[in-house]
Protein backbone atom coordinates (compact mmCIF):
# COMPACT_ATOMS: atom_id res chain seq x y z
CA UNK A 1 0.00 0.00 0.00
CA UNK A 2 2.89 2.33 -0.80
CA UNK A 3 0.50 3.93 -3.22
CA UNK A 4 -1.63 5.25 -0.45
CA UNK A 5 1.32 6.49 1.56
CA UNK A 6 2.39 8.53 -1.41
CA UNK A 7 -1.03 9.99 -1.71
CA UNK A 8 -1.07 10.69 1.97
CA UNK A 9 1.94 12.93 1.40
CA UNK A 10 0.03 14.73 -1.28
CA UNK A 11 -2.67 15.29 1.27
CA UNK A 12 -0.30 17.13 3.54
CA UNK A 13 0.69 19.34 0.64
CA UNK A 14 -2.80 20.31 -0.35
CA UNK A 15 -4.41 20.13 3.01
CA UNK A 16 -7.33 22.43 3.28
CA UNK A 17 -9.44 23.28 6.33
CA UNK A 18 -12.37 20.97 6.73
CA UNK A 19 -15.76 21.66 8.15
CA UNK A 20 -15.01 20.21 11.53
CA UNK A 21 -12.64 23.09 12.24
CA UNK A 22 -15.12 25.52 13.65
CA UNK A 23 -12.92 28.55 14.19
CA UNK A 24 -11.97 28.94 10.54
CA UNK A 25 -11.24 32.60 9.91
CA UNK A 26 -14.22 34.36 8.41
CA UNK A 27 -11.86 35.89 5.89
CA UNK A 28 -11.11 32.56 4.27
CA UNK A 29 -14.77 31.66 4.30
CA UNK A 30 -15.44 34.88 2.42
CA UNK A 31 -12.57 34.31 0.00
CA UNK A 32 -13.68 30.79 -0.81
CA UNK A 33 -17.33 31.67 -1.20
CA UNK A 34 -16.42 34.61 -3.36
CA UNK A 35 -14.15 32.56 -5.61
CA UNK A 36 -16.90 30.07 -6.23
CA UNK A 37 -19.56 32.66 -6.89
CA UNK A 38 -17.26 34.60 -9.22
CA UNK A 39 -16.50 31.47 -11.15
CA UNK A 40 -20.20 31.00 -11.65
CA UNK A 41 -20.65 34.66 -12.60
CA UNK A 42 -17.80 34.52 -15.07
CA UNK A 43 -18.69 31.26 -16.76
CA UNK A 44 -22.44 30.88 -16.36
CA UNK A 45 -21.84 27.56 -14.68
CA UNK A 46 -24.78 27.30 -12.34
CA UNK A 47 -24.70 25.33 -9.10
CA UNK A 48 -27.08 22.87 -10.74
CA UNK A 49 -24.68 22.20 -13.57
CA UNK A 50 -21.78 21.88 -11.18
CA UNK A 51 -23.76 19.40 -9.13
CA UNK A 52 -24.53 17.39 -12.23
CA UNK A 53 -20.92 17.42 -13.27
CA UNK A 54 -19.93 16.28 -9.82
CA UNK A 55 -22.42 13.45 -9.99
CA UNK A 56 -21.08 12.23 -13.32
CA UNK A 57 -17.52 12.39 -12.11
CA UNK A 58 -18.46 10.30 -9.10
CA UNK A 59 -20.03 7.70 -11.38
CA UNK A 60 -16.98 7.57 -13.54
CA UNK A 61 -14.44 7.41 -10.76
CA UNK A 62 -16.43 4.81 -8.87
CA UNK A 63 -15.36 2.35 -11.53
CA UNK A 64 -11.79 2.61 -10.34
CA UNK A 65 -11.88 3.77 -6.77
CA UNK A 66 -13.81 3.24 -3.63
CA UNK A 67 -14.19 6.70 -2.20
CA UNK A 68 -16.06 8.85 0.24
CA UNK A 69 -18.59 10.41 -2.11
CA UNK A 70 -19.91 12.81 0.48
CA UNK A 71 -16.56 14.50 0.90
CA UNK A 72 -15.72 14.86 -2.76
CA UNK A 73 -14.94 18.46 -3.56
CA UNK A 74 -15.09 20.03 -6.98
CA UNK A 75 -13.81 23.56 -7.25
CA UNK A 76 -12.52 25.97 -9.80
CA UNK A 77 -9.45 27.98 -9.11
CA UNK A 78 -8.12 30.91 -10.99
CA UNK A 79 -4.46 31.03 -11.88
CA UNK A 80 -3.64 34.05 -13.95
CA UNK A 81 -5.86 33.94 -17.00
CA UNK A 82 -6.42 30.26 -16.67
CA UNK A 83 -8.93 28.31 -14.78
CA UNK A 84 -8.07 25.07 -13.03
CA UNK A 85 -10.57 22.46 -12.07
CA UNK A 86 -9.65 21.13 -8.66
CA UNK A 87 -11.01 17.79 -7.70
CA UNK A 88 -10.45 16.50 -4.21
CA UNK A 89 -11.42 12.91 -3.54
CA UNK A 90 -11.07 11.13 -0.24
CA UNK A 91 -10.10 7.65 -1.44
CA UNK A 92 -10.92 4.72 0.75
CA UNK A 93 -9.07 2.26 -1.43
CA UNK A 94 -8.20 1.64 -5.03
CA UNK A 95 -10.13 -1.17 -6.65
CA UNK A 96 -8.24 -4.14 -8.02
CA UNK A 97 -8.06 -5.04 -11.67
CA UNK A 98 -10.86 -7.54 -11.54
CA UNK A 99 -13.27 -5.11 -9.98
CA UNK A 100 -12.38 -2.44 -12.46
CA UNK A 101 -12.95 -4.72 -15.40
CA UNK A 102 -16.25 -5.72 -13.94
CA UNK A 103 -17.29 -2.09 -13.47
CA UNK A 104 -16.26 -1.20 -16.99
CA UNK A 105 -18.16 -4.14 -18.39
CA UNK A 106 -21.21 -3.15 -16.41
CA UNK A 107 -21.01 0.40 -17.67
CA UNK A 108 -20.60 -0.80 -21.26
CA UNK A 109 -23.58 -3.07 -20.85
CA UNK A 110 -25.64 -0.24 -19.49
CA UNK A 111 -24.64 1.94 -22.39
CA UNK A 112 -25.54 -0.75 -24.89
CA UNK A 113 -28.90 -1.18 -23.23
CA UNK A 114 -29.52 2.51 -23.50
CA UNK A 115 -28.64 2.49 -27.17
CA UNK A 116 -31.02 -0.39 -27.76
CA UNK A 117 -33.70 1.39 -25.79
CA UNK A 118 -33.25 4.45 -27.92
CA UNK A 119 -33.55 2.45 -31.13
CA UNK A 120 -36.70 0.79 -29.96
CA UNK A 121 -38.44 4.08 -29.69
CA UNK A 122 -40.92 5.18 -27.12
CA UNK A 123 -41.88 2.01 -25.29
CA UNK A 124 -39.21 1.45 -22.72
CA UNK A 125 -39.12 0.36 -19.19
CA UNK A 126 -39.14 3.02 -16.57
CA UNK A 127 -35.49 2.70 -15.67
CA UNK A 128 -34.37 3.03 -19.25
CA UNK A 129 -36.47 6.06 -19.67
CA UNK A 130 -34.70 7.70 -16.78
CA UNK A 131 -31.38 6.82 -18.30
CA UNK A 132 -32.28 8.34 -21.58
CA UNK A 133 -33.61 11.43 -19.93
CA UNK A 134 -30.47 11.99 -18.00
CA UNK A 135 -28.42 11.42 -21.12
CA UNK A 136 -30.22 14.02 -23.16
CA UNK A 137 -29.91 16.40 -20.26
CA UNK A 138 -26.23 15.74 -20.29
CA UNK A 139 -26.02 16.65 -23.91
CA UNK A 140 -27.69 19.95 -23.20
CA UNK A 141 -25.30 20.48 -20.40
CA UNK A 142 -22.32 19.80 -22.58
CA UNK A 143 -23.43 22.36 -25.06
CA UNK A 144 -23.99 24.93 -22.40
CA UNK A 145 -20.67 24.33 -20.79
CA UNK A 146 -18.81 24.44 -24.06
CA UNK A 147 -20.55 27.66 -24.86
CA UNK A 148 -19.26 29.19 -21.67
CA UNK A 149 -15.79 28.37 -22.96
CA UNK A 150 -14.87 26.43 -19.92
CA UNK A 151 -14.80 22.84 -19.13
CA UNK A 152 -16.22 20.40 -21.52
CA UNK A 153 -17.19 17.49 -19.41
CA UNK A 154 -16.28 14.70 -21.67
CA UNK A 155 -12.75 15.96 -21.82
CA UNK A 156 -12.59 16.31 -18.11
CA UNK A 157 -13.76 12.80 -17.82
CA UNK A 158 -11.04 11.66 -20.17
CA UNK A 159 -8.49 13.41 -18.08
CA UNK A 160 -9.69 11.89 -14.94
CA UNK A 161 -9.87 8.50 -16.50
CA UNK A 162 -6.27 8.74 -17.45
CA UNK A 163 -5.38 9.86 -13.97
CA UNK A 164 -7.14 6.91 -12.51
CA UNK A 165 -5.41 4.52 -14.82
CA UNK A 166 -2.08 5.97 -13.93
CA UNK A 167 -2.88 5.40 -10.35
CA UNK A 168 -3.32 1.73 -10.92
CA UNK A 169 0.01 1.41 -12.60
CA UNK A 170 2.10 4.09 -11.05
CA UNK A 171 1.78 5.46 -7.59
CA UNK A 172 3.47 8.70 -8.53
CA UNK A 173 0.63 10.04 -10.56
CA UNK A 174 0.76 13.72 -9.80
CA UNK A 175 -1.12 16.57 -11.52
CA UNK A 176 -1.63 15.49 -15.07
CA UNK A 177 -0.99 17.89 -17.92
CA UNK A 178 -4.19 18.32 -19.83
CA UNK A 179 -5.03 18.69 -23.45
CA UNK A 180 -7.68 21.29 -23.01
CA UNK A 181 -6.93 24.94 -22.58
CA UNK A 182 -9.43 25.55 -19.89
CA UNK A 183 -8.65 22.68 -17.62
CA UNK A 184 -5.06 23.14 -16.67
CA UNK A 185 -4.81 20.33 -14.29
CA UNK A 186 -6.73 17.90 -12.26
CA UNK A 187 -5.22 17.42 -8.91
CA UNK A 188 -6.19 14.73 -6.58
CA UNK A 189 -5.96 15.24 -2.91
CA UNK A 190 -6.19 12.00 -1.20
CA UNK A 191 -7.32 12.23 2.30
CA UNK A 192 -7.10 9.84 5.17
CA UNK A 193 -7.60 6.30 4.26
CA UNK A 194 -9.45 3.95 6.49
CA UNK A 195 -7.58 0.94 5.24
CA UNK A 196 -3.99 2.07 4.97
Amino acid sequence: MGLLTDFYNTVAKFFRPQEEIVDEASKSVATNRLKLVLMQDRTNLTPKILEQMRGELVDLLSKYLEMDKELLELNFEQEGDQVALMLSIPVIRAKDEEEIEKAIAEAAEKKAEEAVAEDEGSEEEETEETNEDSESENEDLEEEVAEAETVEESEVSEEIESVSEDMEVDANSEPVPTKTNSVKKVEKDLKESTKV
Binding site: I21, K27, T31, K35, L38, D41, R42, Q78
Partner: protein, 270 residues
Protein backbone atom coordinates in the same frame (compact mmCIF):
# COMPACT_ATOMS: atom_id res chain seq x y z
CA UNK B 1 -3.77 69.65 -25.18
CA UNK B 2 -5.37 66.25 -24.94
CA UNK B 3 -6.12 65.44 -21.33
CA UNK B 4 -6.89 62.06 -19.86
CA UNK B 5 -10.47 61.00 -19.27
CA UNK B 6 -10.73 58.65 -16.29
CA UNK B 7 -13.97 57.09 -15.14
CA UNK B 8 -14.36 56.22 -11.46
CA UNK B 9 -16.73 53.31 -11.11
CA UNK B 10 -17.59 50.41 -8.82
CA UNK B 11 -20.82 48.64 -9.61
CA UNK B 12 -21.98 48.63 -6.03
CA UNK B 13 -23.14 51.83 -4.39
CA UNK B 14 -21.68 53.26 -1.23
CA UNK B 15 -18.11 52.05 -1.68
CA UNK B 16 -16.68 55.52 -2.15
CA UNK B 17 -16.79 56.46 -5.83
CA UNK B 18 -17.80 60.04 -5.20
CA UNK B 19 -15.39 60.50 -2.29
CA UNK B 20 -12.64 59.09 -4.50
CA UNK B 21 -13.53 61.36 -7.39
CA UNK B 22 -13.53 64.44 -5.17
CA UNK B 23 -10.24 63.55 -3.54
CA UNK B 24 -8.26 62.45 -6.57
CA UNK B 25 -9.57 65.48 -8.44
CA UNK B 26 -8.58 67.84 -5.64
CA UNK B 27 -5.17 66.18 -5.23
CA UNK B 28 -4.40 66.44 -8.95
CA UNK B 29 -5.45 70.09 -8.95
CA UNK B 30 -3.19 70.69 -5.97
CA UNK B 31 -0.34 69.26 -8.02
CA UNK B 32 -1.02 72.04 -10.49
CA UNK B 33 -3.01 70.19 -13.14
CA UNK B 34 -6.23 71.44 -14.64
CA UNK B 35 -9.02 69.07 -13.61
CA UNK B 36 -12.72 68.84 -14.37
CA UNK B 37 -14.95 66.55 -12.34
CA UNK B 38 -18.14 65.36 -14.01
CA UNK B 39 -20.97 64.03 -11.88
CA UNK B 40 -22.96 61.65 -14.07
CA UNK B 41 -25.28 60.45 -11.33
CA UNK B 42 -28.37 62.19 -12.68
CA UNK B 43 -31.08 62.51 -10.08
CA UNK B 44 -28.79 61.55 -7.22
CA UNK B 45 -26.03 64.10 -7.37
CA UNK B 46 -23.59 64.33 -4.49
CA UNK B 47 -20.21 65.36 -5.80
CA UNK B 48 -21.18 69.00 -5.29
CA UNK B 49 -21.76 68.31 -1.58
CA UNK B 50 -18.41 66.64 -1.09
CA UNK B 51 -16.67 69.61 -2.67
CA UNK B 52 -18.80 72.12 -0.77
CA UNK B 53 -20.07 73.61 -4.02
CA UNK B 54 -23.78 72.83 -3.68
CA UNK B 55 -24.79 76.48 -3.41
CA UNK B 56 -22.92 77.57 -6.50
CA UNK B 57 -24.51 75.35 -9.09
CA UNK B 58 -26.51 77.21 -11.68
CA UNK B 59 -26.36 74.97 -14.73
CA UNK B 60 -26.00 71.22 -14.96
CA UNK B 61 -24.82 68.72 -17.53
CA UNK B 62 -28.39 68.37 -18.82
CA UNK B 63 -28.55 72.11 -19.44
CA UNK B 64 -25.38 71.78 -21.50
CA UNK B 65 -26.74 68.88 -23.52
CA UNK B 66 -30.07 70.58 -24.09
CA UNK B 67 -28.18 73.73 -25.05
CA UNK B 68 -29.57 76.04 -22.42
CA UNK B 69 -26.03 77.17 -21.67
CA UNK B 70 -22.46 76.92 -22.90
CA UNK B 71 -20.28 74.15 -21.53
CA UNK B 72 -18.00 76.73 -19.97
CA UNK B 73 -20.87 78.38 -18.12
CA UNK B 74 -21.83 75.12 -16.44
CA UNK B 75 -18.38 74.54 -14.98
CA UNK B 76 -18.28 75.55 -11.32
CA UNK B 77 -14.86 76.55 -10.04
CA UNK B 78 -13.68 75.12 -6.74
CA UNK B 79 -13.56 77.52 -3.80
CA UNK B 80 -9.90 76.98 -3.02
CA UNK B 81 -8.31 75.75 -6.17
CA UNK B 82 -8.97 77.48 -9.49
CA UNK B 83 -7.49 74.47 -11.30
CA UNK B 84 -10.46 72.38 -10.27
CA UNK B 85 -13.98 72.68 -11.61
CA UNK B 86 -17.17 70.67 -11.44
CA UNK B 87 -19.78 69.84 -14.01
CA UNK B 88 -22.75 68.93 -11.83
CA UNK B 89 -25.46 66.40 -12.50
CA UNK B 90 -29.07 67.46 -12.81
CA UNK B 91 -31.00 66.63 -9.70
CA UNK B 92 -34.47 66.78 -11.22
CA UNK B 93 -33.88 64.45 -14.16
CA UNK B 94 -33.03 60.77 -14.47
CA UNK B 95 -30.38 58.78 -16.32
CA UNK B 96 -32.34 58.71 -19.56
CA UNK B 97 -31.95 62.48 -19.96
CA UNK B 98 -28.54 61.95 -21.56
CA UNK B 99 -27.05 59.29 -23.78
CA UNK B 100 -23.58 57.87 -24.19
CA UNK B 101 -22.76 59.86 -27.31
CA UNK B 102 -23.65 63.15 -25.69
CA UNK B 103 -21.48 62.37 -22.72
CA UNK B 104 -18.60 61.33 -24.92
CA UNK B 105 -18.88 64.61 -26.77
CA UNK B 106 -18.68 66.55 -23.51
CA UNK B 107 -15.64 64.56 -22.38
CA UNK B 108 -13.96 65.14 -25.71
CA UNK B 109 -14.54 68.87 -25.46
CA UNK B 110 -13.37 69.08 -21.87
CA UNK B 111 -10.17 67.13 -22.43
CA UNK B 112 -9.05 69.69 -24.97
CA UNK B 113 -8.63 72.32 -22.28
CA UNK B 114 -7.89 70.21 -19.22
CA UNK B 115 -5.25 67.76 -18.09
CA UNK B 116 -7.75 65.48 -16.43
CA UNK B 117 -11.43 64.80 -16.82
CA UNK B 118 -12.66 62.59 -13.97
CA UNK B 119 -16.06 61.05 -14.49
CA UNK B 120 -17.92 60.03 -11.33
CA UNK B 121 -20.04 57.08 -12.38
CA UNK B 122 -23.38 56.14 -10.80
CA UNK B 123 -23.84 52.72 -9.17
CA UNK B 124 -25.22 49.95 -11.32
CA UNK B 125 -24.48 48.62 -14.78
CA UNK B 126 -27.30 50.24 -16.69
CA UNK B 127 -27.61 53.38 -18.79
CA UNK B 128 -25.87 55.60 -16.25
CA UNK B 129 -22.81 53.37 -16.28
CA UNK B 130 -22.76 53.13 -20.06
CA UNK B 131 -22.97 56.92 -20.26
CA UNK B 132 -20.17 57.45 -17.78
CA UNK B 133 -17.69 55.16 -19.50
CA UNK B 134 -18.48 56.40 -23.00
CA UNK B 135 -15.80 59.06 -23.19
CA UNK B 136 -13.22 57.44 -20.92
CA UNK B 137 -9.92 55.89 -21.88
CA UNK B 138 -8.99 54.82 -18.36
CA UNK B 139 -10.94 53.44 -15.44
CA UNK B 140 -10.50 53.30 -11.70
CA UNK B 141 -12.56 50.56 -10.09
CA UNK B 142 -13.34 51.32 -6.46
CA UNK B 143 -14.16 48.46 -4.15
CA UNK B 144 -14.04 47.54 -0.48
CA UNK B 145 -12.82 44.23 0.98
CA UNK B 146 -16.37 42.92 1.19
CA UNK B 147 -17.84 40.11 -0.84
CA UNK B 148 -20.70 42.04 -2.35
CA UNK B 149 -18.51 44.95 -3.41
CA UNK B 150 -15.90 42.63 -4.90
CA UNK B 151 -18.45 40.63 -6.80
CA UNK B 152 -19.89 43.77 -8.30
CA UNK B 153 -16.42 45.09 -9.08
CA UNK B 154 -15.67 41.85 -10.91
CA UNK B 155 -18.75 42.36 -13.04
CA UNK B 156 -17.74 45.93 -13.80
CA UNK B 157 -14.21 44.85 -14.74
CA UNK B 158 -15.71 42.32 -17.12
CA UNK B 159 -17.80 45.04 -18.76
CA UNK B 160 -14.87 47.45 -18.95
CA UNK B 161 -12.76 44.75 -20.62
CA UNK B 162 -15.21 44.55 -23.47
CA UNK B 163 -14.75 48.23 -24.22
CA UNK B 164 -11.74 48.73 -26.44
CA UNK B 165 -11.36 52.44 -25.77
CA UNK B 166 -10.54 51.78 -22.16
CA UNK B 167 -6.87 50.88 -22.13
CA UNK B 168 -6.21 50.85 -18.41
CA UNK B 169 -8.32 49.57 -15.54
CA UNK B 170 -6.91 49.91 -12.06
CA UNK B 171 -8.11 48.99 -8.63
CA UNK B 172 -8.66 51.24 -5.65
CA UNK B 173 -9.31 49.33 -2.47
CA UNK B 174 -11.24 51.52 -0.10
CA UNK B 175 -12.14 51.28 3.58
CA UNK B 176 -9.42 48.81 4.44
CA UNK B 177 -9.27 47.97 8.14
CA UNK B 178 -5.82 46.66 9.05
CA UNK B 179 -7.02 45.49 12.47
CA UNK B 180 -9.59 43.19 10.96
CA UNK B 181 -7.15 41.92 8.37
CA UNK B 182 -4.67 41.13 11.13
CA UNK B 183 -7.25 38.92 12.80
CA UNK B 184 -8.19 37.30 9.52
CA UNK B 185 -11.62 38.81 9.76
CA UNK B 186 -11.34 40.80 6.57
CA UNK B 187 -9.92 39.95 3.19
CA UNK B 188 -6.46 41.36 2.76
CA UNK B 189 -5.28 43.58 -0.06
CA UNK B 190 -3.53 40.56 -1.60
CA UNK B 191 -6.69 38.49 -1.40
CA UNK B 192 -8.72 41.11 -3.24
CA UNK B 193 -6.07 41.79 -5.86
CA UNK B 194 -5.66 38.03 -6.32
CA UNK B 195 -9.34 37.64 -7.01
CA UNK B 196 -9.91 40.64 -9.25
CA UNK B 197 -6.54 40.45 -10.99
CA UNK B 198 -6.16 44.03 -12.09
CA UNK B 199 -3.28 46.35 -11.17
CA UNK B 200 -3.59 48.05 -7.81
CA UNK B 201 -3.68 51.83 -7.89
CA UNK B 202 -4.10 52.44 -4.20
CA UNK B 203 -5.31 51.42 -0.77
CA UNK B 204 -7.37 53.73 1.41
CA UNK B 205 -7.64 52.88 5.09
CA UNK B 206 -10.96 53.29 6.83
CA UNK B 207 -10.85 56.78 8.32
CA UNK B 208 -13.50 58.50 10.38
CA UNK B 209 -12.05 61.75 9.10
CA UNK B 210 -13.92 61.05 5.85
CA UNK B 211 -17.20 61.66 7.67
CA UNK B 212 -16.16 65.01 9.10
CA UNK B 213 -14.62 66.07 5.83
CA UNK B 214 -17.87 65.28 4.04
CA UNK B 215 -19.77 67.18 6.71
CA UNK B 216 -17.66 70.21 5.98
CA UNK B 217 -17.60 69.84 2.22
CA UNK B 218 -13.85 69.71 2.29
CA UNK B 219 -12.05 66.74 0.63
CA UNK B 220 -9.78 64.92 3.03
CA UNK B 221 -6.69 65.36 0.83
CA UNK B 222 -6.62 68.92 2.14
CA UNK B 223 -5.97 67.53 5.62
CA UNK B 224 -2.22 67.05 5.82
CA UNK B 225 -2.43 64.84 8.91
CA UNK B 226 -5.00 62.36 7.68
CA UNK B 227 -3.84 58.89 6.64
CA UNK B 228 -6.66 58.56 4.11
CA UNK B 229 -5.72 61.98 2.77
CA UNK B 230 -2.13 60.81 2.38
CA UNK B 231 -3.35 57.68 0.60
CA UNK B 232 -5.34 59.80 -1.87
CA UNK B 233 -2.38 62.08 -2.48
CA UNK B 234 -0.30 59.00 -3.24
CA UNK B 235 -2.93 57.78 -5.67
CA UNK B 236 -2.86 61.11 -7.47
CA UNK B 237 0.91 60.79 -7.78
CA UNK B 238 0.63 57.26 -9.11
CA UNK B 239 -1.93 58.50 -11.60
CA UNK B 240 0.70 60.97 -12.75
CA UNK B 241 3.13 58.11 -13.28
CA UNK B 242 5.21 58.49 -10.14
CA UNK B 243 6.19 55.39 -8.27
CA UNK B 244 4.99 55.78 -4.73
CA UNK B 245 5.13 52.83 -2.33
CA UNK B 246 1.83 51.72 -0.86
CA UNK B 247 1.13 52.86 2.67
CA UNK B 248 2.26 50.27 5.15
CA UNK B 249 -0.91 49.41 6.97
CA UNK B 250 0.34 46.05 8.20
CA UNK B 251 2.59 46.41 11.18
CA UNK B 252 5.10 43.62 11.86
CA UNK B 253 2.69 42.40 14.48
CA UNK B 254 0.43 41.35 11.66
CA UNK B 255 2.87 38.72 10.49
CA UNK B 256 3.28 37.32 13.98
CA UNK B 257 -0.45 37.13 14.33
CA UNK B 258 -0.67 35.31 11.01
CA UNK B 259 1.93 32.76 12.09
CA UNK B 260 0.11 32.29 15.36
CA UNK B 261 -3.04 31.75 13.44
CA UNK B 262 -1.42 29.08 11.30
CA UNK B 263 -0.23 27.27 14.42
CA UNK B 264 -3.65 27.53 15.96
CA UNK B 265 -5.12 25.92 12.88
CA UNK B 266 -2.55 23.13 12.82
CA UNK B 267 -3.26 22.44 16.44
CA UNK B 268 -6.94 22.22 15.76
CA UNK B 269 -6.27 19.65 13.04
CA UNK B 270 -4.06 17.48 15.24
Amino acid sequence: MAGRVIVITSGKGGVGKTTTSANIGTALAKEGYKVVLIDTDLGLRNLDLLLGLENRIVYTIVDVIEERCKLKQALVKDKKNPNLSLLAAAQTRDKSAVNAEQLKEICDKLKEKNDFVLVDCPAGIEQGFQNAIAGASEAIVVTTPEMSAIRDADRIIGLLNTKEEITSTRLLLNRVRPNLIKNNEMMSVDDVVGILEIPLLGIIPEDTGIITSTNKGEPIVNDEHSLAGQAYRNIAKRTLGEEVPFLDLDEPKGIVAKIKNVFAKLKAKV
